[in-house]
Subunit: 171 residues, 2 copies
DNA sequence: TATTGTTATACTCTATAACTATA
DNA sequence: TATAGTTATAGAGTATAACAATA
């Protein structure tokens, strides 16, 4: 059990990690944004699956997944074949072209990381991966609000301000 | 120096961590999106500063920072006072209302983390924070492309597809 | 001429809600 | 009636480029 200061720091680092993520995104082909890359990666790792399952793995809404899938299917990187067991669904499968794209993505992002993390040991990278994985697991890859969590309410803006308002802040 | 498999795994975890970030975002007041929260947090930690400095700390473009700042200033959570040393700039400073909002944000996100990470030791959280911080440092909080990195080119879509195209994938 | 900010525009990712087809 | 998926719409975050004011 950690203290509030540590939790604040973790929140901050989590927010700041977006910069690293964007940096990796910049080496991806303009053709293949992050959402598409994630779809290809998960199909490769977990095998053929339906949209619903993919949405779970991505931890985003199915509507979002549907759009990503349409994007990669439109480029011929996956095929959607009818699910014999349920006519509402289709089975997603990587094509050879999809595998080729995935290889290229891996090459580029790994090259970037190899450059930036050249002074990290194998063990340190492993430790970070392990802790990040556990963090995700601790959040249960949860989509819905778990128990009776009250929806967050807006905070009041400074109305009759307690400080003298300077003219430059009149919006 | 780690291997390609580890780099791929790190990339994947980095991408998947977005779900945790969004989960935290959901407990924030509708009033105060992530960008605003980041501005308040950094002003609290590093003290009064100009937009340019804040943009560096956020590791985003100044135009983005400008918008976030306008948002929090519009709610009276910061004030922008003239910089005596440079008439082009203004100094950003948290107001008492801004401090109050920041306290509330800390309370909410820490409560969420305390709930989800109840089985983590203080040391484990500290280790994760340390590694995440180092990861950011390894990326140098870099904004511009460092040396002669060639801009990424788009990958070819599957044209004359190597596999039989099924009708359901005609976009 | 270079720098600090701001604004306009566009793109990606996400969620909610309405809708279709099937179970 | 419930579930799988799609689409429309809206909101947040970001980047690039054009612009204003000042250095």
């Amino acid at each position: 059990m950690a203290g509030q200061a540590q939790y604040e720091e973790l929140t901050r680092q989590l927010s700041a990690l977006g910069a690293v993520k964007r940096e990796i995104g910049r080496v991806l082909p303009t053709n293949c944004p992050g959402g598409s890359a994630a779809v290809l990666t998960l199909l490769d790792r977990h095998g053929d699956m339906r949209i619903g399952r993919l949405a779970e793995l991505l931890a985003v809404d199915m509507s979002v997944t549907s759009r990503h899938v349409a994007h990669v299917a439109g480029r011929g990187w996956i095929v959607r074949s009818p699910d014999p067991a349920d006519k509402r669904s289709r089975i997603l499968r990587l094509t050879p072209a999809g595998h080729a794209v995935l290889d290229e993505l891996s090459r580029r992002s790994s090259a970037l990381l190899a450059d930036r993390l050249s002074d990290w040991t194998d063990d340190e990278v492993g430790q970070l991966v392990r802790l990040m994985t556990r963090l995700r697991e601790s959040f249960g890859d949860c989509r819905a609000t778990p128990h009776g969590t009250p929806p967050p309410r807006p905070l009041p803006a400074a109305q009759a301000a307690p400080t003298t308002r300077t003219p430059e802040d009149a919006e």
